[in-house]
Each structure stands twice: as structure tokens, then as C-alpha cells.
Symmetry: C2
Subunit: 454 residues, 2 copies
């Protein structure tokens, strides 16, 4: 067994040249976002105040592939291609006949997959003559990624950081500042949206989004950048799945099931979209599993409706599974999964039965993360710990069924910034908050009036 | 320029098969460690209570190369080969004709180069029937690496963590515990050495070493593991330099100068020893620069004398540059460089003029780290920030001289655990502690009686 490979690497010239656009492949009629005032499909005019035309073009593109600009591929070279591993030690530990593979995005300078889209967005904005990007961040993964990307492309970066995180995670703020970003505690007195929310001093992701969008909409030199949910963000992340396809070929294996955690959907999209295209074309029979927190079970318990992307209601209405745009999820440590909605494309795939969603409690995901770390060495972030929990279930099922099953997942970030959560878990003090059906019903009652989705 | 490569990767089967042992290459007569009671060369009997025979064999080996056991190479595959980068963005930023390359060890699961030796030591001890390893850690890099290695090879791990760090860095403790280690605050009441130091509740690395050595010496099933200084630790790290040789060949370049930071010497040794062998054989004319903190300037200001490796005086006497075994360096953030002594081999190389040592102040190293992060994206740990400072000086010299100069250094770890220090630097609140000549003279007066080094 000693000579069996565990790591599959690609060279720099094997970084993909195109992103995979799944939008034209989707079954059923197109379901466009809506302008909340007119209830007609949101067009470029609804988006130009905050996004450059090239990204708007990607958002609605009917092309099967979108070429990656060379300067973006150059930036990718700073950490891509990322490695793909066969989890031989974990397989032995689980005593499973399943073969488990994982792609590892934690080698990026920000420690997660987020820079894949951040550099693409920073480049597109710089090319459009934009001087500054505004964004929001919760736990700090996206804010760090955009700060990094802006430093690479010479843009200023303004980050509204959720108040509670700003106070508890000064090292994340320091990371963004080290890359030259300006970080403002949200809610702030720098925006109308922030001043209106002064009664909620700990803030929320939805409030921070409202602040960043407001700044971008009011300043011609400033645009907005979002770290997930939107089609063009999912598009950028497909470098992950394309590299995985090449690496699985090196490994000589074909996944029976692809697993990913889902918050806004960009990580799940990144790994799965290139694989889903193969299934839609009849070239493969892969299953897909989306793992989310039971404390924020958008895909498993939410309503498939039009809703706003932010708390205040500044964005177009998006067709998606939602828990209500002002639903505030319990404070689980997987900050990247605490979002009321989900990518419209990923939502549609779940609705059409192409992706199966599962929800997991916080403690069982940390248990899976610790077991993974002790066999595979890498300490996962709390977000991919949800995927690992689902992978272990799949491996156990394979064992019970006595079948060889090939499982592939994306380990989208390391947990080096989340050790206080591991500390709480090991001390038996980690909370296991429950989703409140009542809170959600309450939030759903405040959903905007909009047509039902066909 | 867009098509020029920035990243040079090797495949899994290019992980080195042997470590490079520089001991037989050293100029001059051998300078063995001494038994402090007899003042005769320390033999295997002095070391068997705390080290397995195979590592003692590596410590004194006259072989030019030592084969890497296959299970250790298997463990290396979890993160090796590590990438080598051409720092094209930094070169442009510095407007230098120099070509700058760096090897990046921060992709390991512990975030530094330390696991290269930790897995080798854990394997050797398990093969010798040892059940537990005891060690010390300051900032936590080495303790994390050994905890990880023990989890991979099924050993228990006991870490004495310097009291001040234990209190300030609970996330580092949580990281070690996530990999299954037991972490004890030092000084503790679990050892005689610890109880004797109860008057120094914040502890020191020297005290923690004494505690770990005492436990290992008194328990047949427990051995001790050290993260730097010793010959066999330097040996294990030479996978870094060997991979760099292959990657520089891919890049088609030959370094004029190799730069590394030095604390105990293992990082410096790892990159430089394979290159130094070529110089000693007349095959190359590379210069070597060792960068250390001005607050703990062992190589630039210390005495070349026999001294203990620990505070209490439990180790053999080592021939090395030292500031005195009970010298307590000012609390700079580069915790891995706060050691009173240095690897005897690296000390000998400095003494013989093969390596040039330079000392840098804390603030200038953080300035270099931030400049590096904003061009090359990776946030360096405070330790390699010293190397980066020296690299920038070399690049500036090349610019002044109008000469192409090829510079290679090892970026031995990322700074994700050190963001509070970056925060202090950016806020202008980072201290710039000075080395106290008086303190050192005081400490040198307490050096053990021993022969001068020839």
C-alpha cells in the first residue's frame, strides 16, 4: 500500500482556460431575477450602478464556457492548481470499501476557495475603470479574499464587517488590513442603512450587505462585490471542478457521488457544476449531495420563492430557497453557511431533483472534522466539516452495502481561524442550536410580494 | 510577461528518497557535544534515555545521505512536494533586476516546515516501541507539528507549552488538542524542573524543555522530541533544499545567494545544506545569508562556546553560538527565533565563514512582511519575515549595482496565527525591543565550565 499515490497534482499550465457556465444547461424555463418595483425581469440597468458590464454579461451569459482573462489566470498561479488527495488514511480509519477523494482549496493565501472569484471580480472592475470595491464579510473569509484580490489588482477595498465578528475576530480584521483594505464595523454611521439599524449593534450579514451596496450605488468610482449566490460567482469557482476532473482522471477513478457544503452555494457550484454538466448530457450518472447546517437549513426547510438577497431590500428579487431575508440564523461557527438564501442555480438544481440536500447539527460536524484531522492531518474549517459529515455517512452506507463507492468532495478551507470553536467542541461546550420553525414562519410572512416560481 | 511561469511544482514521486547529511562535509575537526559531568564526548549512552537508537544514529552519522523510511515519505505526501515560486510581482514592486525565488512550506497542515522532522521523529520512535513523545512549545509551531505527527503514527503526545503562550494563544493549544495531544502549561507541578521554577509563572522555552526532558528521562515508554538545533532535525529538513534544487532546475536558474531565517537552525539548514554541499565540493559559488532577530542575535553577537540546550542544564553541552542558556530574549513575535543557542552545524558554518549572519529589528521585518503580502499574496509568519527583509536588501544591492542576481529563500510558514502582531504593526504599536548586552554578559558568566572550541 505504501506506493499507492495519495496526492494528484497538476502543473501551472493545466489551470483551466475557461469557466463552466451551467446556466444554459438548466432544465425548465429560465427564472430571471425581478426588479422589486416593476416585477419585470431585472435587466443590466438594474445592475450597472454596482457591477461592471463584463460581470453582468457573465451573470446572464448563454455561453457554455466563458474564457478566463489571462491576468486572472496569472493571479490563480499564486496558489492554483490546488492538490487533490485520496483519503487513504481516512478510508482505513472508517474501515470502508469506499474510495474517498478530496480537493483542497485551503492552500490559497486566504485559506479558502473564495479568492477564485475575488481575483476575477477585482480584475473585471479594474478593467472597467473602477477604483474601489465595497463588500461585506461575516467570519472574514470573503472579506480577506477580496482584500487580497484588490491588493493584487491595485484597487482600494472597503469591507463592512459584521459587528459581532469585528469584536470577536480582530485577527481577521488585521488580515484584511495587512492586504491594505479599510474595515468598518457594521452597522456603522457611514451609511443610511447602517444608521437605520443602530438598534442592532451586533449587526448581521444582511445589514452589512445593505451598507456595502448603498456605498457602491452612491459612488461612481465604487462597485460592489459579492462572495457567493450570484451566477457569476458560481461561474468563477468552476476552476475547482475542472481541475478535479483532470485529477480524478490521473487517479483513474470516477466519482459515484460528489459532496459539498452549501451556504450561498459558490463552493458547491465550484466543484459540482462541471460534473453536473456531464450528467445533464448523459455522460455520467453521478449523484450530488449538498450539506448545510441544521441551524440554517435553507435547502431542506426553506421556501422556493422570490426574495431579497439582503436584509434591507436593496437587491433584485432572486428565485431561490429562502428562510426569509430578515431571518437571522443561530450563531453556529460555520459563518460561511449562515445565509438565509441560496444560489438561484443551486436552488433550481435541488428543486429539479438533481441535487440532494441534507442538514447536519453543529456537534456532529465538528466530530467529523476532528476525526478527519486525526487521519488526514488537515484541520478543516467548520463549513467543509458539513461535507465531511455527509462523506462519512456515504462511506458507512457503502460499508453496510458492501459496495465500492467513489466519493469526491471539496475541502474548501482550513480551520486555522476557527480553533476557538474546536476548543469549545473538545471541551464539550459547543452549542448545538436548533432551527426555529416559528422564527422562519415569521420571516416568511415578511417575504416581498412576488409571482410564484413556475 | 503574462505567460512566464511563477510556480514550479513537482509530482509526488519527486519527493526526495534521502536526506542530506552535511556533518561529514564540515571543514575542520569534528566538535562533538560533551557530557557535562565527564567533559568527554557525549556518546549514545548519554542519549538513549530520551532518543531512539535510529535517531541517535542519524545524529552522529558519517554517511553522506540517509535513506528516508517509506512510511515517512508516505506522510510527506500529505503536503509535499511544496511549491516553489518566482516572486515576479515583488520584483516589479522593488523595481530590481534581481530574480527572486521562494519555496513555500506554509502549505503543510500545521502551516510551517516543522512537520518535516516531526513525522520522521514520530515514525522512528514508534518503530522503537515508544508509546509517547514529550516536547516543549513556545508559540506553538513545533508542538502543533509533533501533535500532528503523533496522530499519524498512533503515538500519544505530551506538550509543555510556555505559560505566557498558553494563556495568550488558546487556539494553538486547541490545534494540538484537535490532533489528540495533551497540553500542559509550563512551569507545571508535574515535574521537579517545573516546581523549581514556580517563581517564574510565565515560563520560558528553556524551562519547558527541561520539563519535557525530565518526563522522557524518567519514563521508559516516553521519549523526547526536539524541533530544531540537533543534527538529525536539520537532516530531516533537507527535503526542502533538495526539492528546491529540482525546482530551480525547472526554472532554469541558479541562485547566487540563499537566504533563511535562523532560530535553532532547522529551517535554515533545510534549505541551505543541499546547496552548501555543492559549494564545499566546488560545484557552485553560492553565498548564504542567515537572518536573525536583533533582539536575540545569537549568531551575530553570541559567543562560540559549549553551552546547555535548556535552562536547567539537563542536556549535553553543545558547541554553538550562544547568548547563555538562561538568557531570556525580549518578547518579539517571531517566537521560533527566540532561542539562546543555535544548531552546532549552522554555528560551525558561520564560524568558518561559509554563512554570513545578519540581525534585523522587529518593525523592519514586519514592514517587509506586509510589502511581501501585498505583492505576492501570502502573509508570512514573523520568522520568515526576517528572511524577506534580508532578501529585499539583496534585491536593492543588485539594483544599485545594476546586476542580475538570483535570490532564493524559504518561506517557512504562513502568518495566519500571528495576525495580532500584524495588527499591532499596522497600528504603529509594535515594540522594537533591543538586545541587552549587559543581560547577555550576565548570562555568559553563568556558562558551564567547558573546554574552548578549537
Amino acid at each position: 500500500m505504501a506506493a499507492d499515490p495519495v496526492k494528484f497534482t497538476l502543473s501551472e499550465d493545466q489551470i483551466p482556460t475557461h469557466w463552466v457556465n451551467l446556466l444554459p444547461d438548466l432544465p425548465g424555463d429560465p427564472v430571471p431575477p425581478l426588479n422589486p418595483r416593476t416585477m419585470s425581469p431585472a435587466g443590466p440597468d438594474d445592475l450597472t450602478p454596482i457591477f461592471p458590464m463584463s460581470l453582468i454579461g457573465q451573470e446572464v451569459s448563454a455561453d457554455l464556457e466563458v474564457e478566463i482573462p489571462e491576468p486572472v489566470r496569472e493571479a490563480y498561479k499564486l496558489w492554483r492548481p490546488t492538490p487533490l488527495y485520496r483519503a487513504r488514511r481516512l478510508e482505513r480509519e472508517l474501515d470502508t470499501p469506499a474510495r474517498i477523494y478530496y480537493k483542497y482549496e485551503g492552500v490559497s493565501p486566504a485559506g479558502s476557495h473564495k479568492p477564485n472569484s475575488a481575483v476575477a471580480q477585482a480584475y473585471a472592475n479594474r478593467e472597467a475603470g473602477i477604483e474601489r470595491l465595497a463588500t461585506e464579510t461575516g467570519a472574514g473569509q470573503w472579506g480577506s479574499a477580496l482584500a487580497l484580490a484588490c491588493s493584487l489588482f491595485g484597487l482600494d477595498c472597503l469591507v463592512y464587517m459584521v459587528g459581532a465578528s469585528y469584536d470577536q475576530k480582530p485577527y481577521r480584521r488585521a488580515m484584511m488590513e495587512s492586504w491594505g483594505a479599510t474595515v468598518i464595523r457594521s452597522p456603522s454611521d457611514t451609511t443610511e442603512s447602517g444608521r437605520a439599524q443602530a438598534a442592532h449593534p451586533t449587526g448581521s450579514l444582511g445589514i452589512a450587505i445593505s451598507e456595502a451596496v448603498e456605498v457602491a450605488a452612491g459612488d461612481a468610482g465604487t462597485n460592489y462585490a459579492l462572495g457567493s449566490v450570484l451566477n457569476h460567482v458560481c461561474l468563477h469557482q468552476t476552476v475547482i471542478g475542472q481541475e478535479a476532473l483532470a485529477q480524478m482522471e490521473l487517479a483513474g477513478d470516477e466519482p459515484d457521488v460528489v459532496v459539498g457544503c452549501v451556504g450561498g452555494g459558490s463552493n458547491f457550484a465550484g466543484m459540482s457544476f462541471p460534473y453536473i454538466r456531464r450528467v445533464l448530457r448523459g455522460d455520467a450518472k453521478t449523484r450530488f449531495v449538498a450539506a448545510e447546517p441544521a441551524a440554517c437549513p435553507t435547502l431542506t426547510r426553506g421556501a422556493y420563492r422570490y426574495d431579497f438577497g439582503d436584509t434591507v431590500g436593496l437587491t433584485p428579487l432572486m428565485p431561490m430557497f429562502t428562510l426569509g431575508h430578515d431571518f437571522v440564523p443561530p450563531p453556529v461557527h460555520a459563518g460561511g453557511l449562515r445565509y438565509h438564501g441560496d444560489s438561484p442555480i443551486v436552488s433550481g438544481l435541488v428543486k429539479h431533483g438533481l441535487v440532494e440536500a441534507r442538514a447536519y447539527r453543529q456537534n456532529e460536524t465538528f466530530g467529523a472534522a476532528v476525526e478527519f484531522a486525526r487521519s488526514e492531518a488537515i484541520l478543516p474549517a467548520p463549513e467543509p466539516a458539513h461535507a465531511i459529515r455527509a462523506v462519512m455517512d456515504e462511506a458507512e452506507e457503502a460499508k453496510q452495502a458492501g459496495e465500492e463507492r467513489v466519493i469526491l468532495f471539496n475541502l474548501c478551507g482550513h480551520g486555522h481561524f476557527d480553533m476557538s470553536a474546536f476548543d469549545a467542541y473538545l471541551a464539550g461546550k459547543l452549542e448545538d442550536p436548533e432551527f426555529s420553525e416559528a422564527d422562519m414562519e415569521d420571516a416568511l410572512e415578511r417575504l416581498p410580494e412576488a409571482p410564484a416560481i413556475a
